[in-house]
């Protein structure tokens, strides 16, 4: 299996403050499933931001899809971003667009013809249990409903990497499991999945998943399997 993401000695500093992330060195295997945990403020979202190219590291090397993501010219970023699906911790839905149009947004950005959009979007709405809210705008949706729209938007393009930041914080355990099942299906189709979560019970649902634990801006890697995934695999 190839390495889809590689961090080497990566550090991140916001403005002139202290380093929020330090000495991150790890490798994500293509097609694997990762859970990221850590206390609130540990740096999970910050790490994910580096991953989905919303932030440049202040030091270190990041390789994405086999290319150096730090020195990538701006013009190539949109192409990279379209290969990554993101569930933002604060959803970031467009408030005046309907649920349907929010989910359809990545397809339209990618230039998919309008007549090919309807079917997958409706299918996705059914998956997250919001078929009857197709035309509702986000402010009229419940917290959990908004979160599900955000998830639907992230997965609709079948991205190569799916990054989900606390994707089940606002839904009930049954729905959480259902959503996790969605991520798992996507993963089986080849998508590399990274889910940051506080819900430790989710972890047991995906037995194959690998754990990443952030503490105080550093990645704990007691077994060394994050640093050297193939070695660990061989050992297992």
């Amino acid at each position: 299996m190839a390495n889809i993401v590689q961090f080497e000695n990566v550090g991140l500093r916001y403005g002139t403050g202290p380093e929020t992330l330090s000495d991150l060195s790890f490798t994500l295997r293509a097609g694997a499933f990762y859970f990221m945990t850590g206390t609130s403020g540990a740096g999970k979202t910050s790490l994910l931001k580096l991953l989905y190219l919303a932030q440049r590291p202040s030091r270190g090397v990041i390789r994405l899809f086999g290319e150096d993501a730090v020195t990538l010219p701006r013009s190539r970023l949109p192409g990279f971003r379209r290969r990554i699906g993101v569930v933002f911790q604060d959803f970031r839905l467009v408030p005046h667009l309907s649920a349907f149009d929010n989910i359809a947004l990545p397809l339209r950005v990618a230039g998919m013809p309008e007549d090919e959009i309807d079917e997958p979007v409706r299918e996705m709405l059914a998956w997250v249990g919001l078929k009857d809210r197709t035309n509702a705008r986000p402010p009229t949706l419940s917290g959990g409903e908004q979160q599900r729209i955000a998830i639907a938007r992230a997965v609709i393009t079948r991205p190569e990497i799916l990054v989900a930041d606390e994707p089940t914080g606002n839904v009930d355990p049954d729905m959480a499991e259902r959503l996790l099942h969605l991520f798992d299906s996507l993963n089986r189709l080849g998508t590399t999945v990274v889910v940051a979560t506080h819900d430790l019970h989710l972890l047991s649902r995906i037995p194959d998943a690998q754990m990443m634990r952030i503490e105080g801006g550093r990645l704990l890697d007691p077994t060394g399997s994050l640093r050297n995934p193939h070695g660990a695999e061989a050992a297992a």
Partner: protein, 292 residues
């Protein structure tokens, strides 16, 4: 492309701030069109005055003896008419002359001993011929006085030119103000849609896709607002025009708009729309360029 399809029209919200900007555009274009109309009209008036004056002379014969006077007049007209540089030469009607002079000399002055001068209006094809004509006239009647109209009406012309200058200044001021408002509107519109732009950016839209979406919205706002403002201004101008006609105000009456002027006025919302579009594009590209 994302910007070309119907569902994308909804991407940028038709918020209240947007609507406020649309009305402000309407107001600014209303003022700009009025200022431009004033500028064009006074400029046209100045030009009309110039072309009227430049090629005209008045020959004045001040002569106590009416018979001598009339003979001189006939001789001069006979000499002038055949010349190619003279378009027309004719004695000014005596009654009209009396009427013209009346406020200056009073009724008493006319039928009294005052020798009534004769006047000949000469219309030249080329203003440069004035000196030759003057020499010709003096050869026939040495006592004749020759006035180029330009000289007579110099103070009036100066005043109208000052007005035209002021109107021009007003146009520049109002147009600059409108330009600024359009630029500010483009910037503040970007602000209103900041979150949407951010989302599109993160979903992998190219800068040009986002800019196109945004500049189209600004273009629509400016065009709609500007069209309303321009229509109101044109209606207002037509109303004012009818009022002036009704009053028959002489000096202001000369101040009219030609078809070309109306065309310029009609083009103004388009011009400002183009400017707003470019400003919006540059603002978006600049703002996006600063982020990853």
């Amino acid at each position: 492309m994302i910007a070309a399809r119907a569902p994308d029209r909804r991407l940028l919200d038709d918020g209240r701030a947007t609507r406020a900007m649309r009305w402000i555009m309407a107001i600014m274009l209303f003022l700009t069109v009025l200022a431009a109309a004033l500028g064009l009209a006074t400029w046209a008036a100045t030009r009309a005055l110039d072309s009227d004056l430049a090629g005209r002379l008045t020959v004045q014969i001040v002569e106590g003896d009416a018979a001598v006077r009339d003979r001189s007049v006939a001789a001069i007209i006979a000499a002038l008419r055949p010349r190619p540089e003279v378009r027309a030469a004719a004695e000014v009607d005596r009654a009209r002359l009396a009427q013209l002079l009346e406020p200056w000399l009073g009724e008493a002055g006319l039928d009294a001993d005052l020798p009534m001068p004769a006047m000949i209006d000469v219309d030249l094809t080329t203003p440069a011929a004035a000196a030759a004509i003057e020499r010709l006239v003096r050869g026939i009647a040495p006592q004749a006085r020759i006035d180029a109209h330009a000289q007579w009406l110099a103070p009036v012309r100066g005043f109208i030119a000052t007005l035209a200058l002021l109107a021009g200044g007003l146009v520049v001021l109002v147009a600059s103000a409108t330009t600024l408002v359009v630029l500010l509107a483009a910037r503040s519109g970007l602000d209103t849609h900041r979150d949407t732009i951010e989302v599109l950016h993160m979903l992998g839209s190219t800068d040009v896709q986002v800019a196109r979406l945004f500049q189209r919205r600004i273009a629509i706002d400016t065009l709609l607002g500007g069209a309303v403002g321009t229509l109101l201004a044109v209606a207002f101008l037509i109303f004012i025009g009818s009022q002036i006609d009704r009053l028959g105000a002489e000096i202001v009456g000369g101040v009219t708009l030609r078809p070309a002027d109306w065309a310029i006025l009609a083009m103004m919302p388009l011009g400002f729309t183009l400017m707003a579009t470019i400003a919006a594009r540059m603002t978006v590209l600049g703002a996006l360029g600063r982020r990853l």
